[in-house]
Amino acid sequence: MRLSQKSVAALFAAVTIAGTGGTIVSAKDQNLTGAGSTFIKNLFDACIPEYNDVSGDTVSYGGGGSGAGRTAFINGTADFAATEAVFGSAEKPPADFTYVPLIAGPVAIAYKNSNLTGTLQLSPVTIAKIFAGQINTWNHPEIAAENPSITLPSNNIVVVYRADSSGTSTVFAQYLTATAASVWTKAPSGTFANAMPAGAPPGSIAAPGSDGVANKVASTEGSITYVELSFQKENLGDGVKAASVKNAAGAYVAPSPISAAAAVAALPAGNVDQNTGWIRPDFATAVPNAYPITALAMGIARKTYSAKNDSVRDFFNYILNTCAKAQAPTLGYAALTGNTLKFAQGRAAGISQLGNPALTTVKRNQTLPGASLLNAAGLSGVPTLRVTKGGNVCRVVNKTNIGGTRAGTCDVRVTVGTTNVTLKVTVTK
C-alpha cells in the first residue's frame, strides 16, 4: 500500500522535525476538550477514536462552530480549538497561542434539483448573485449562459445558509468578497445573514450546523447551499450534487480532495503568517485544476509547557502525519502535503515548548545550549541571554549558552530582536 508507506515516511519526518514531541510517546491519560469548527468535525470524528486508542488520552470534540471554538479557547473551557476564521480584533486570545494548519478541504456549492441533469457550472459572480438573492430562478439567463449544454428547470432557487456562526460561512463570504466584490458588497462575517448584501433573500432557509444545511438541501427541491464536501457526499443519495466552480484560471473545477490539494499545494508565500502560523486560503488560485473555494482549518493551541499541551501536540501531529492521510480522501478533505505540511509540523512542534523542563534543565558545571532555550521560548533567530534572577545559580557562557554553577533555579531572559521571553532554568546536581 502506497498510502501506508507514505504515512510511515511522514511519521519519521515528524519525529525528526518535532523532536521530542513528534508522535505519541506513551499513554498519558490526559482528557482533552476541543471545540470549534464543524468543517473539520467529520475528520475529527474519525481521527479522535483512533488517537484515543493509540495514545491512551481521551479527546472530546464538541464542535459548535469556529467562533464558539475561539471563544472557548479564550475562556479556557477548551484545551484546543479548530477554526477557519482568524481571531477577530475584539477577541483577546492568550499571548502564547499558536495556529497549526491541520487540514484543507473544498467548500462545495451543493444543490438539489431533480430536473437538472448534468453538473452545474458556476462562476463566482453567479454564485454571489444567487446567494445575494439577485438570481432566484434556476433558468436565469446568467446561469444558462454558463451551462449551455444543460436544460435548466424554471423553479425557484431556495438559498440555504448556516444559522449559527461558522468558519465555513466566513470562508465562503471571504471568497465571495474576494472574487465578486461588485455583487458581494458586505464584509465577511461568521454569521452569514450579516454578510449577505441585502440580508437574507426571501424564502431562504437558515439551518444550524453543516448537517443541518445538508439535510435541508436534501429535503428541499430547488435548494442550494455551501457546505463541506463530506456532507454533500453523505447526501448524494438524496440527489444533492456539487457544482463546478470557475477558478481564476478560467476553468470549471469540481470540488474534490485532489482539486483542493492542488489549491493548497500552490499557496503563495504571502498567504502564510510566519508569526502566528495562520494561512490564508488562496481564492484567486491560478492553478488550472485547483478548486478555488478551498478552506484551511487551523488548530489553535497554547505553547506553554504542560502535560495537557503535550497531548494536544501529539494529537495535532497524529492528525497531520497519520490520520488525515488515511481518512481525508474518503471524507472529502485534502491532507496537507509538501511545504504546507512541513510548516504545519513546525508549528505543531512549537506547542508545549515554553518552559519545557526537558529543554531548560542543566547539570551543575555543565552547559545548556542557547538553541535549547530558544526552542523553549518558542523563538527563532540569534538570541541574547541574560540571567535576571539567581545569578549565583547560573551564568551566561560565551554569550550564547548557560552554565550551571550550583543546584537551584534561575530566571533567564531570552531576547530575539524586540521580543523576549523569561524562562526558569533548573540546575541539578
Partner: protein, 321 residues
C-alpha cells in the same frame, strides 16, 4: 361586662431542637431563595446593563451585530425573536387547545376505566418526552408533512389573510414550528384540563343527566363551565413552556432575524433558540446581551406563568368549595 381584662403575653418557649429545626429549615428555604433569586438578580443586573447601553432599541431593533469591541458598532435588538416567540407559541396554543380539551374530555368521560388509567400514564409520559426527541421527530417526520399542508392551505385558502405568503416558500415557517410546539405542549394542557374536569362534582353531572340531558349536554352545561378557568390555566402553562422551548425550534425553524408575521412563510425563531445559537461564540459583552434577552424571556414567561397559576388556583379553589 368584663372590665379591661389584660391579655397575657403567652411565651411559647421553643425547645432547642425546634430552634435547630427553624434554623435548618429557614436556611434551606433561604438557600433555594438565594439560588433562584440570584438568577433573577443576575439576569436583572445584566439586563439593565444592556438596556442602558442599547436603550429601547434592544426590544424594537432587528439586528444583532458586533461583539462590543472598542470603536465597533454594536447593535443588539431582539424584536424578531420576541415576535417570533409569541407567534410560535400562539400558533401552538391555538392548535393544541381544542385538541387537548377534546382529548381530556375523551379520557375523562368516554374512555372505559381500564383505558383511562393507561391514557393518564401516557399523558404523563408524553409530557416528559425530551424536547430533543420532539425536535428530531419534528425535523424528520412532521416537517415534510407540514410543508405539504402549508402548501395546500396557501393554495386553497390563500385569500384568507392568515394563510397569505409573499413567495411560495414554506419550510422552516412559524406554522411548522408552531405545530411541533403544539404536539409538545398538548400533554400538559390535556393533563391539566383532565385534572380539572375530574374534579367536577359528580352530583352536578348526575343532576344534569337526571334532567334528561345526554352526556354532551352534561359536559356542555356543567363540566366545561366548571373547568373553564382550569383549561385556560393549562393553556397558559403550555404557552409558558412553548415560549421557553429551545432545541425543537432550533432544529425545525429557519431562524432569521427579521420580523415575519406570515405564519406559512419561511423564517422565524424564538429567544431561547437564539440564545442557543449564539452563546457559543459570544464575546463577554454579547453574553450580557444574551442574558438580557434571557431576562426579557424570563419576564414574559413569568407573567404568563403567574397568570396561569392564579387562574388554575382559582379554579381549584372553586372546585374544592
Amino acid at each position: 361586662m368584663a372590665v379591661a381584662v389584660e391579655q397575657r403575653e403567652v411565651v411559647t418557649k421553643k425547645p432547642r431542637v425546634d430552634k435547630v429545626l427553624h434554623g435548618v429549615v429557614t436556611s434551606g428555604a433561604l438557600a433555594s431563595l438565594v439560588i433562584l433569586g440570584s438568577i433573577a438578580g443576575f439576569l436583572l443586573y445584566r439586563g439593565f446593563e444592556i438596556f442602558s447601553d442599547m436603550g429601547f432599541g434592544f426590544i424594537t431593533g432587528s439586528t444583532w451585530e458586533g461583539a462590543g469591541a472598542e470603536g465597533e458598532v454594536t447593535k443588539y435588538g431582539i424584536a424578531p425573536m420576541l415576535v417570533g416567540s409569541l407567534v410560535l407559541s400562539l400558533i401552538a396554543v391555538a392548535v393544541a387547545l381544542p385538541l387537548s380539551v377534546g382529548t381530556a374530555l375523551f379520557v375523562e368521560f368516554y374512555a372505559p376505566p381500564g383505558l383511562r388509567r393507561v391514557l393518564v400514564s401516557v399523558l404523563d409520559l408524553a409530557a416528559a418526552i425530551p424536547s430533543v426527541i420532539y425536535g428530531l421527530w419534528g425535523l424528520f417526520v412532521l416537517r415534510p408533512l407540514a410543508i405539504g399542508w402549508a402548501k395546500s392551505l396557501n393554495e386553497y385558502l390563500g385569500w384568507f389573510p392568515l394563510f397569505r405568503v409573499d413567495a411560495t416558500f414554506f419550510d422552516g415557517s412559524p406554522f411548522i414550528g408552531g405545530l411541533v410546539l403544539a404536539v409538545m405542549i398538548s400533554p400538559i394542557i390535556t393533563s391539566v384540563s383532565r385534572e380539572v374536569f375530574s374534579q367536577t362534582p359528580p352530583e352536578l353531572v348526575d343532576g344534569a343527566r337526571a334532567l334528561g340531558g345526554e352526556r354532551w349536554s352534561a359536559i356542555r352545561h356543567i363540566v366545561l363551565p366548571f373547568g373553564r378557568s382550569g383549561v385556560i390555566g393549562g393553556a397558559m402553562l403550555g404557552l409558558g413552556r412553548a415560549l421557553g422551548e429551545t432545541v425543537a425550534i432550533y432544529l425545525v425553524v429557519s431562524i432569521v432575524f427579521k420580523i415575519n408575521l406570515q405564519m406559512l412563510f419561511t423564517g422565524s425563531g424564538n429567544i431561547a433558540s437564539m440564545i442557543a445559537l449564539k452563546f457559543g461564540e459570544a464575546s463577554p459583552y454579547e453574553v450580557k446581551a444574551l442574558l438580557a434577552s434571557g431576562f426579557v424571556l424570563f419576564i414574559v414567561t413569568l407573567i404568563v406563568n403567574l397568570i396561569a397559576t392564579a387562574i388554575v388556583n382559582g379554579s381549584v379553589r372553586k372546585a374544592s368549595k
